[in-house]
Symmetry: D2
């Protein structure tokens, strides 16, 4: 991993950031924990996240993984940078269990000057088998002090 | 492609299906055209699809590609089957232009007994360069007459 | 994970299988360990695996991950089935270190009736940071007693 | 696409570059054609590319797509840059036909300052249905005049 890079935003700082920067999705999301090796982001599953049959929708799980890995990167570089998702690969493996929150457990695999890579396993709370697996790449803008980001390139 | 497989649902049938089966997202989506070689799905971009800065959110584009490729499969096998997304890979390449609809142009690459594969390019209407590229795999349940689907496996 | 499924092929059985079924690549590969939670496959890096500059080539790393995840599946279902790779997603994150073997550490994430999913981190021996990350899906033929496989679908 | 960017290396220049820079694989590969919209790279399938059963191996198809998309990028930016593959996603969809060359048809989807993205369909010569689909991302080093590349980051 890239676990040797120190955490610069703790759980409280990340939840505050989430509320300020992602007001649309923040009420459903909560950083359960963050450490050098793992960040866990919780999705409070609500009616609006479900597809017919009670399954959490694909875009909802995609969004959960995206925010989770994004926060994992920010936990190491701070809130000033605006990383942009450039690639995502996701495997949907099982049906989430009805009535349970989803937990995304993320690892930071690379934190470079231009690119960062992380992956996540999503599980229904209290269940060992993963519902989905996701890996994402983020482009980091050249000047980290800038916040006004656009897709680089 | 798998272009030699005849269309069994036309544009009108697909839009009717969309309204009946995906009531949450149907108001924003519209099948512009469908043929042996391509299906075009339109997203009427609204405030709710945007991230700060005016970019269409990643989950919105993921959902657009997912529905578009799903409908491309159904256009060949009819509305009775319930295919489930098992894998998705997406590249976000440019910032969508503000104030323009998004158009997803889909190809069906494989339609097997167990698995179907399609891909899509997403563009801002009237612009040649793609905003995103996406490929997805769907598992097709063993008995196509059944509609009550779950992730196979 | 799918770690609750018992191992039916141990390290010795897997290495014997490798030599019998993959004679072209077997001299370079060795199963270092296998358990309920992880399989480690070693690539003895040789001149033929290198690109100019001393980097291990992309196809070599792809092949290492493919065999490693394939063996991880077989360690649970035995040598009789012929699973076929249907999807792979790989991130190349760092340059492997010259003069060191590569180790692929694999997890089995799903073992269904039709599909199996696993992922792997590849590292230079003795180094903590991963060189590459890979996830792959395999289609499992309907009748596991059969060995003569073809791409299903 | 990014088809508005002019070709700066034609078919002859690309084949010369291939022979000079990839001597290990060049005897098996040949650029059939290149234009603003598509590059076609041929793999002369030989015994060494096959797996038991006569299928072309996964790493061979991965390598074909990798070189094909790489050359598609170089056809627009010239031979001076050293782009590095950072991500690949590949779907294996059909068994290649025995005794036929493989043709990879590539499109350039994005050519940015930091990242380039392309995709490819691989077919057995003379057959319409694709054997595999692949998309890849390449990191372009900051100073294109430099040739001594390493994974950026």
């Amino acid at each position: 991993m890239a676990g040797h890079i120190q955490i610069v935003m703790d759980q409280a700082a990340l939840n505050t950031f989430l509320a300020a920067e992602f007001p649309q999705v923040a009420p459903d999301l909560y950083v359960d924990s963050v450490s050098d090796s793992e960040l866990v982001l919780r999705l409070r599953v609500k009616e609006m996240h479900l597809r017919p049959g009670g399954t959490v929708s694909g875009p909802t799980m995609f969004g959960l993984a995206d925010v989770a890995i994004y926060l994992t990167i920010l936990s190491r570089i701070g809130p000033v940078a605006l990383a942009v998702t450039t690639n995502a690969s996701i495997d949907f493996m099982r049906k989430p269990e009805a009535g349970r929150d989803l937990l995304a457990s993320c690892r930071l695999l690379k934190l470079g000057k231009q690119l960062a890579v992380g992956d996540a396993l999503i599980r229904s709370e209290g269940r060992p088998d993963p519902v989905a697996r996701c890996s994402m790449t983020y482009a980091i803008p050249p000047h980290r002090e800038s916040r006004s980001g656009a897709i680089p390139g």
